[in-house]
Amino acid sequence: MTIFDYFIVLTYIVSVFYLGLKYRDRSSDFSNFMIAGRKVGLSLGVATMLGTELGLITVMYNAQTGFNDFFAAFHIGLFALVVTMFIGITGIVVVKLRELRVKSIPEYYEIRFGKNVRILGAILLVIGGILNMGLFLKVGAIFVQGVLSATYGISWLEESESILAIIMIILLVMVLLYTILGGMISVIITDYIQFVVLSIGLILSVLFSIHNLGWFNIFDQLEILVSNPKSIYDPFQSRGGFYVSWQLVLGFVSAIIWPTAITRALSLKSPETVKKQYLWSSVSFLIRFMFPCFLGICAYIHYNGKVIGGETLMMMPMYLVEILPVGVLGVMVAAMLAAFMSTHDSYLLCWSTIITNDIIDPITGGELSSKQKINISRIIIIILGLYILYWGLVYDGLDSIWTYLGITGAVYFTGAIAVILFGLYWEKASSVGALAALLGGLSALLGLEPIRKSISMFSTFQPEQIGLMTLAFSMILMIVFSLIFPDKKERKV
């Protein structure tokens, strides 16, 4: 990194802050704060959907996946493309939810199954969600650490825990300030800017990688470096059928019911726009996996398969510092930091408003004013920020970040997908069945590496196997309990 690169990074961060703060006082209404008053059009929806979904974390874990699994990891992107396109064509789930004009998935739970399901659903959503984002801050800090290490060649910096903690605190303060002062309008502004800058940064990084390593040489080198060439390309050889099936499930749920994605869909102007947005976003969903995976593969070749500093996550940022020219590196680092902010503000806003809207508000009788809800959400944002700092410092699981994200997300989505699919498309689905399915999702916690290893019965299972079992378990609970305990009165939805 040169002084010019630092200048670009600083200018960029200051500009994003300025824009966010400039528009902060416009978020005086809770509906604006949460879903931008449902005024987002198709183009802005497509741009900001990628802005939210293509965060620094996404780039980092996908680069790590590419570094570990090579081209075989592209199947994750392929599934994301196919599934998102399918949602765009059929409108499954998302259009129905938009037609109901709900602000969040737990709101749907209440309309279909009653208040208890809404509160339990929101609690589980928040447990899964905040566990899921628990490592975001740490991963962001590892990126900065990797860039600084490659720039200054300071070997101790690569492994220093205290430096990592300091970077985490600086990043956290930046994100909290921005999110608390803004709201969904500010989130949309940063998401848009991030979509533009990060897209340019990624396209350039891919082009420079191909220019440096040579398109055909990438494949040739990889086949020399990896002992089993078949595993480079074949996902079934590389990770097995359970893993591949699990990726299909993850592709489906991350597009259809993951709150940050669905919140964007619910803020669109009309149900028809929702379908179009998913159709166009399908390419973005492919790219957000494929480009970073490719950069991870290039980093593997560049370093001849060696892992420097014992951390595979750090390899992609170090690689970028070495290959990108002055100026482009500055843009890329700035874009990654903005991506970090954009993902955090989207997630913090999403979880805090769900806690306020779907747990605190119903419990307190639904009489909170918009101003009170916004203030409560802001306090929760600070608490969540402190939690991710704590969790990033204490959690020491060894699974890859993508595996961690999949299994923590499963705590929420395995139950939620059963409740939503059956709730929307099966008349006999009952509130007791919904409660049982949601609670069944908790069994995904067994897939977390420290828990899995501590229980001998599950220690031999892979996270994806536990995830698939949890999904099947929740579906069965939904069907069985709905048949045994049907609702007494018919619901309209």
Binding site: S43, S199, L286, I287
Partner: protein, 44 residues
Amino acid sequence: MIVWKLIWQLLFVIGFLSFNLIFIFFSIKGYRELKELLKGNYEK
């Protein structure tokens, strides 16, 4: 192995080209919509 290799190469090239087009189109149209959204929100 060769089939998988070809699939990923094809997917990468098509994905790269279509993303470039999508990026140009939606960044321009998205900017216009963002301006409208901010303007409307301000006037409200």
